[in-house]
Amino acid sequence: MRKIFIKGIKGGTGATSIVANLACALRKSDEDVIAIDLDSKSDLGLHFGLSWEHTSGWSNYLSFESALDEFHIDDDGVIFLPFGTLSANTQRINKTIESAQQLQVNDSAWLLFDCPAHQEIQDYDLSSNDIVLEVINCDSVCHGLVYRRLLQLNQCPKKWQHYFLINNYNSACELESDLLQVWQAETPLLAPVHINKDEVVKESTAFRNVAVNCAPYSVAHDDFETLASWLVTRAANND
């Protein structure tokens, strides 16, 4: 099972949209995909067509095993599990991650976790094959946070594969263009792909869907396909 943890380096970077679009892009390549919402705002399901009234999820159950009825499947075959309405501490979240790995799926299935920005990645029980995508935007705040994170990673015994993934990149903005150039040249752990700013990502969410489905000829579609291909290659290297 291939585990990808996706979290924003700060709130509002678009991590949940990336989880949903990446899940669909992988699914379109006939991969088995399970997306699990670990964020208490519990909005991952909206991208997969879950109704707004549906609020329950795994946090509303005493154990992961009793929450199996909360798994949903979207029109493309992506299996997803909403967070729900109750809060969950780090121990409970780690228990959910551990239990998800016991699901009866094939070895090459993808397990995508939508992680909250406020939770430290070090809090999760990660192994050397786990991939963490920390989502960043091309702005100066993220620049400062990236270098702060690099210092943290430098000091902790890093066991997982950490990457910074640029989302919402606007090449028409001088600052963003400057930052991208500097990051690509000097910043360690920058993912070799980035997601360009594309309005279809927002628009497709309004239709309770994802850009990969709604706009097959969009820039976003191509970007998410590229991201999925890169991850498939990375995972193959791990295998």
Partner: protein
């Protein structure tokens, strides 16, 4: 006297790339990464926050290798 027309272009030709490979090594490599260090430094100097981060982080070795 001959006057030669000079074409100014930022696009590298295969000849330019071969020259760079010969000069800096990696002749057998099919991939070459060109970094404009001077321009990057100018960008960093342009923004006070970036200069601040650059100065502070220069004290640490941030080189990390992904698997």
């Amino acid at each position: 006297m001959n006057e030669f027309a000079v074409k100014k272009s930022n696009i590298l030709t295969q000849y330019d790339i071969d020259n760079l490979l010969n000069r800096f090594g990696g002749k057998t490599s099919s991939y070459i990464e060109i970094v404009d260090v001077q321009k990057n430094n100018q960008i960093i100097e342009k923004y006070p926050l970036l200069s601040d981060v650059s100065r502070s982080s220069a004290m640490f070795d941030l080189s990390m290798h992904s698997k």
